[in-house]
């Protein structure tokens, strides 16, 4: 089955990429945008979706610094 894994920096961890995007927006005329965070998306096809959590913990995300969310498509 197809799945999409969203990986984002854990809340509370300084996310300079998100901050840089946020700071650039007003210059382009986009006001009122805040709390920007930049993460990663991995799309995959899994024969055994049961093991996706383990896969995320071991490789796709680093649980110390990142949260992940699995979306089944």
């Amino acid at each position: 089955m197809k799945a999409r894994v969203l990986i984002r920096p854990k809340e509370g961890i300084l996310d300079p990429q998100g901050k840089a995007v946020e700071r650039a927006l007003p210059a382009l005329g986009f006001e009122g945008i805040g709390n920007v965070h930049v993460g990663r998306m991995v799309e995959l096809e899994a024969e055994d979706p049961e093991r996706l959590d383990e896969l995320c913990e071991k490789l796709l995300a680093n649980p110390l610094i990142e949260d992940y969310e699995i979306q089944h498509l």
């Binding site: 300084l14 300079p16 990429q17 840089a20 680093n62 110390l64 610094i65």
Partner: protein, 209 residues
Amino acid sequence: MIWGVLQFPGSCDERDALNACEVVGDEARLIWHEERDLSGVDGVVVPGGFSYGDYLRAGAIARFSPAMEAVAELAAAGGPVLGICNGFQVLCEAGLLPGALLRNQELRFICRQADLLDDEGNVLSIPLKHGEGRFYAPEEMLDRLEAGGQVAYRYADGHNVNGSSRNIAGVRNEAGNVVGLMPHPEHAVDPLTGSIDGRKVFEALEKYA
């Protein structure tokens, strides 16, 4: 002692690491990442570079290489392991060292000389060059590392250029035989390049061989 210096696709500092091992009076040989057998080697340097292109996260893929399995065994047996820059990232990803390395606070790749403090009070002048060198660990883990003497190197005041938690430049495992740091001691072993302070980093691990 004999050091093995790992070589991954994308490593770039393994030659300087080999040279550094020899400068401090040890022997060294390269170990390709597919080698599983570390027999004949007393300690390992995991060098800097961009192993596997830094895909996914720096160090994330390299930790699954056959050579890293052997390094984990060597570390568990008490042998010396030194991770430099990308090597530090690999050791953290492999769970052999605590914490993680995040994108530099200012998002820029930084290349400069920095002063480090070791835990004997020495000031070491050592170059650093990285884009993802901001040491991070949760507060309670930082407390534990400090209480347990696991902070091996700190940036001197004004030299914490990447925003690392509590000025931490390098850490060690609980047993002390595994050390990782972001700056590059292997580039500071010859007077020609301005500092030989990097030798101390290699010498400090020799007692675990």
